[in-house]
């Protein structure tokens, strides 16, 4: 039986019970208009609902009953015990049918209601047809406004036929039918007792407050249970142990049970959306398709209520701002119908709700401008921000970039309100926006607000709770003073920044006591510290604590308003021992560390996996020293691993220093020119070049003197071409720092790293790339290959070059750029002009199938991933050869 029908049955049973009472009351006080109104409303609702559900038999009976009530309400019929009896019989029949529905799994039981309906109709018409004999004598009481007056008016003129006797009995025609009234009640009577018996237990409506109270009580019970457990732990072989264990189990079951009563499918929060989207589509003149997945994902009622409005708002936003008009979509090569997709699913005790549209993406440039004009960030700050970071400005208060305030959105309720609401329930919100392809919002909310499992830790003498949900693992770390040879699980420092090697990854660490500015006593040395590895968005962060206690179930209580600004805490709670404890918010900690879910901090194992590097993004730079005292830097994303190798591992082969590394030989290139073989250990930056297309997978080790630090900087390289191996100088961490040209060092290791052998007779290549960093990296790399390279910052500059008469053999262009992006550039080029036939290679951080298809459609000759130098060179090779062949 579907939910709708179940709800209907529950509701109808309640209504029927009310109706019984009300009708009896009406019989006693026929002039009680309130009761009459109530009866009428109840019957009308039943009739309307069963019509909607397609329950025709029920509808007919209810309709017949309603017509009698209409007459009574309109004053056309006087309430008499017989009329009430007839209506009650109708109700009994309705009950019988409803019972049948419940037992027959939603199918109406067979039965003949004609007699009953006829009786009801007769009752309804009784008064109308009654006047016929008496009509001459008196004006029909029908038009009289109320039954009471009807009686009063009728009584003196006609000797009481209307008032004292039921109308149907007086009329010959109804009388003939009247006997027919009798059988139905007899028939229905035996069914009636069954009604209560069968329908009662299915569902009961319970007030929300009752459930809330129950939940609060259970939460307190859980806390008390925890308290008891803690007490019993300190007392060995207590007589309470066994009953306490039992109490504990029952409490858990009770908690689960109560929790279940509050679970509702998220579809309940969505059911208004199709209509909303339909209306919106109409209003803003767009074609919108709403797709919903995972509507049956269940979550706590309270959470559901709180998430409803934010979700509605996001869908509204997507429809209004996210999706383009059909014309725009056509122009962009998309289908006219925009799509909004809702997706809900469970993920580790949380529910993820995605609201995605396939529209134009967020207007990053507009957001930048708005953030600047609102003074929320300085120009310099903005320049240092990635598009992702810029996009998050829409979560700030009062931030709406919609040019016009439409009726649909932009009513002052912005994404900031959505964010606040989501965070209020312990959730997080993030977004991903791709120009031209749409925006996806990710809302992560807890299943329930009531009870969470938390890890209790200690730092600086204070205890804190970390929600278990964000804890990945616990690592016990040896101090840096430890002489242990195992580099695993030892806190190391790059400058003063602690890091931990954790299975081939460098895990950034943060000390909790440092973060919270707690006093650390001298005994709290690093020896024997614990690291709580937490997941924040896509990144991992290790939180150094002094001690880890137990996990405990806690009831999250919001912190006092005057403490809400401390983003490190998501709430507070009372522990089993009665003490108050603050609950840490790993997201807040990450924000304080400037990580905020971006993956720029952690060196990925493979440079090709790194999907960062968009223009103006802050680049994580690895600082090191080699040769002279001045610091050198290399983008961390280009470094596969950092190794600290013993002298003995260095071997020589054909005059080249090499080492065995992961089952093969890795050439070692000393940056300072010579290997200092006196040093017992060597710091090595490992570069990895994987090219699946060519089956290439090689690595190279750059030997440096000392690894200093990892810093995040907006990289602006002052190019200087005269020093081999150096791209130029940049200000990193406040110091002038040489940025090394990785391409140069790679070629030092293996001559054919870039197929350097072939020269290309000074082919001219135009690089269109807005990121200084990539431009500065590509220009020398391609120059080294023998190409004559010119660089332009964006499409507009490139067009200027074309219009000024410059000519090239090929164009390599970034896809995402301000002013005029790659797609627009290539479309313009292909539309005519001197460069119409040039090979144009797209260079993008994203190279998914869809992007490639879009790119090819726009006119790109080839599509290459931004970090894939090998592929770029191969592609250039191919394009230029093809161009030659055509020319020949």
């Amino acid at each position: 039986m579907d939910d709708l029908l179940a709800d209907f049955l529950t509701e109808t049973n309640e209504s029927l019970a009310d109706l019984d009472l009300a009708l009896v009351k009406l019989e006693q006080t026929p002039d009680d208009s309130e009761t009459l109104k109530l009866i009428f409303r109840l019957v009308h609702t039943i009739k309307g609902t069963c019509g909607f559900l397609g329950l025709s038999r029920l509808e007919r009976v209810a309709h017949a009953g309603e017509s009698v009530l209409v007459k009574i309400r309109d004053g056309a019929l006087v309430v008499t015990p017989d009329i009430i009896s007839t209506v009650l019989q109708g109700l009994d029949r309705i009950k019988a049918i409803v019972t049948g529905l419940a037992t027959h799994d939603g199918v109406e039981p067979e039965g003949d209601d004609t007699a009953l309906i006829a009786a009801l109709e007769a009752a309804a018409e009784g008064r109308l047809s009654a006047p016929s004999p008496a009509a001459e004598a008196t004006q029909a009481p029908a038009p009289e406004p109320s039954p009471e007056q009807a009686i009063a008016a009728a009584a003196p003129e006609e000797p009481a036929p209307a008032a004292s006797e039921p109308a149907p009995a007086k009329e010959p025609a109804p009388v003939a039918e009247a006997p027919a009234i009798k059988p139905p009640p007899d028939a229905a009577a035996p069914e009636a007792p069954a009604v209560e018996a069968q329908i009662g237990p299915q569902t009961i409506r319970v007030g929300v407050e009752v459930l809330e109270d129950l939940m609060t009580l259970v939460s307190e019970l859980v806390l008390t249970r925890n308290q008891l457990l803690q007490l019993s732990r300190s007392q060995e072989d207590s007589a309470f142990a066994v009953p306490l264990q039992r109490l504990s189990h029952i409490t858990s079951d009770l908690q689960e049970g109560v929790m279940k009563t509050r679970m509702q499918p998220i579809g309940n929060a969505w059911n208004k959306l199709p209509r909303l989207v339909r209306d919106l589509a109409h209003e803003v003149d767009k074609k919108i398709e709403l797709v919903m997945h995972g509507a049956d994902t269940e979550l706590d009622r309270q959470v559901l209520e709180l998430i409803k409005d934010p979700l509605t708002h996001m869908v509204r936003n997507s429809a209004d701002h996210g999706l383009e008009s059909p014309a725009e979509r056509r122009a962009a090569g998309k289908s006219e119908t925009g799509r909004i997709m809702l997706n809900a699913y469970h993920e580790g005790g949380h529910i993820i709700i995605e609201v995605a549209d396939d529209g134009k993406g967020l207007p990053i440039a507009a957001i930048r401008a708005k953030a600047l004009s609102r003074g929320q960030a300085s120009e310099a700050e903005l320049a240092a921000m990635s598009d992702e970071q810029v996009a998050r400005f829409i979560f700030r208060a009062g931030f709406s970039t919609a040019r016009t305030v439409t009726a649909v959105s932009g009513r002052g309720v912005g994404m900031d309100v959505v964010k606040t609401n989501v965070e209020r329930i312990g959730g997080t919100i993030d977004l991903k926006s791709t120009p031209g392809q749409g925006t996806t919002f990710f809302v992560k909310i807890p299943l329930t607000l009531a009870i969470v499992s938390a890890l209790i830790v200690q730092a600086g003498g204070e205890r804190f709770a970390i929600p278990q949900i964000s804890v990945i693992e616990l690592v016990r770390a040896a101090g840096s003073g430890s002489t242990s040879d195992r580099t695993e699980s030892r806190i190391e420092r790059i400058n003063d920044t602690p890091v931990l090697r954790l299975r081939d990854q460098l895990l950034p660490l943060v000390s909790l006591s440092g973060l919270l500015r707690l006093k650390t006593s001298s005994t709290d040395t690093e020896a024997g510290q614990c690291i709580v590895v937490t997941q924040i968005g896509a990144s991992l962060l290790g939180i150094i604590v002094d001690r880890v206690f137990d996990t405990e179930e806690i009831v999250v209580k919001p912190v006092a308003p005057i403490l809400r600004h401390i983003s490190m805490f998501s709430g507070n709670t009372i522990l089993g021992d009665g003490s108050v404890i603050m609950i840490l918010d790993p997201n807040g900690i990450a924000r304080a560390q400037g990580i905020a879910g971006s993956d720029g901090h952690i060196a990925e194992g493979n440079t090709k996996d790194v999907v960062v590097a968009q223009s103006e993004q802050r680049t994580a730079m690895l600082l090191f020293r080699a040769g002279d005292r001045s610091p050198k830097a290399v983008p961390l994303s280009l470094v596969a691993r950092l190794e600290d190798i013993e002298r003995d591992r260095i071997e020589f082969s054909a005059g080249q220093s090499v080492m065995q590394y992961r089952g093969r030989l890795m050439p070692l290139v000393p940056m300072s020119g010579t290997l200092d073989l006196e040093k017992p250990r060597q710091a090595v930056l490992v570069f990895n070049d994987v090219d699946n297309a060519n089956g290439r997978d090689r690595c190279m080790g750059l030997v440096v003197d000392e690894i200093l630090d990892v810093v995040e900087e907006h990289l602006k390289v002052e190019l200087s071409g005269d020093r081999p191996g150096l791209l130029g100088t940049a200000v990193v961490d406040g110091h002038a720092t040489d940025v090394i040209d990785t391409a140069y060092w790679l070629t030092q290791a293996t001559q054919d790293w870039f197929h350097t052998a072939s020269k290309h007779g000074q082919r001219r290549i135009l690089i269109v790339e807005d990121s200084d960093f990539f431009r500065n990296m590509l220009v020398p790399a391609l120059s080294a290959e023998g190409y004559e390279v010119t660089a332009a910052e964006n499409g507009v500059q490139a067009m200027r070059l074309r219009d000024s008469g410059a000519m090239f053999d090929a164009v390599v262009s970034d896809v995402e750029m301000p002013e005029m992006d790659g797609l627009e550039l290539v479309r313009t080029l292909r539309s005519g002009g001197p460069w119409v036939g040039l090979p144009v290679i797209a260079l993008s951080a994203r190279a998914g199938d869809e992007e490639i298809a879009t790119g090819r459609e726009a006119g790109f000759t080839d599509y290459v991933g931004k970090f894939d130098r090998g592929a770029l060179l191969a592609s250039l090779h191919q394009c230029l050869d093809a161009a030659l062949a055509v020319a020949a």
């Binding site: 806390l223 500015r517 006092a560 490190m568 009372i574 009665g578 108050v580």
Partner: protein
């Protein structure tokens, strides 16, 4: 530890609900105050704002919180934010180890405990002994005091609990 040194003040008693009394004999309006001392100064808070009076409590420190916030404590299962009245009024810290008492007040369904040196008696004071703040009162006091009551032997500063609890969120 619940109830340790805790005594409920009958705020619901009909006369004191509004905190105002008609003195039957003089006809002057009276207000009822809970008196307390902080750094030897006698202060009073209107009795209707006081939910509870607590003795020494275990207080959990809250890192990164404003200096006025001493921490939070557990009052019969509710978390109460403790505000150090000495800090709030710019007074020197109490000597280490001095027992403190607190007066619990509710604001916007949140409970706050004002840490004071001593809570004394409940006084009913006639309005004719009330005076506005003297203009020379230090700014921190002036900002949080409603006025002064002249008692026989000393002066009592009437503290405005609402203003005391209105800590700037960015504190």
């Amino acid at each position: 530890m619940d109830g340790m040194g805790s005594q409920m003040i009958e705020t619901r008693a009909s006369e004191s609900r509004t905190g105002e009394n008609r003195n039957a004999t003089t006809g002057a309006t009276e207000r009822v105050f809970v008196t307390l001392t902080v750094a030897d100064q006698l202060c009073g808070v209107p009795v209707e704002t006081v939910r509870d009076v607590l003795g020494e409590q275990v207080i959990t420190r809250i890192p990164l919180a404003p200096a006025e916030i001493a921490g939070s404590l557990n009052l019969r299962g509710r978390i109460v934010t403790a505000i150090d009245l000495r800090q709030r009024l710019g007074l020197p810290n109490a000597p280490e180890g001095t027992p403190r008492m607190s007066v619990v007040a509710e604001q916007g369904s949140e409970l706050y405990a004002l840490l004071v040196d001593q809570v004394s008696e409940v006084l009913s004071l006639p309005s004719d002994s009330f005076e506005r703040n003297p203009p020379t009162l230090p700014p921190l006091w002036a900002a949080h005091a409603e006025g002064i009551y002249r008692l026989e032997d000393r002066l009592m500063v009437v503290l405005d609990v609402g203003k005391l609890l209105a800590l700037a969120p960015e504190g």
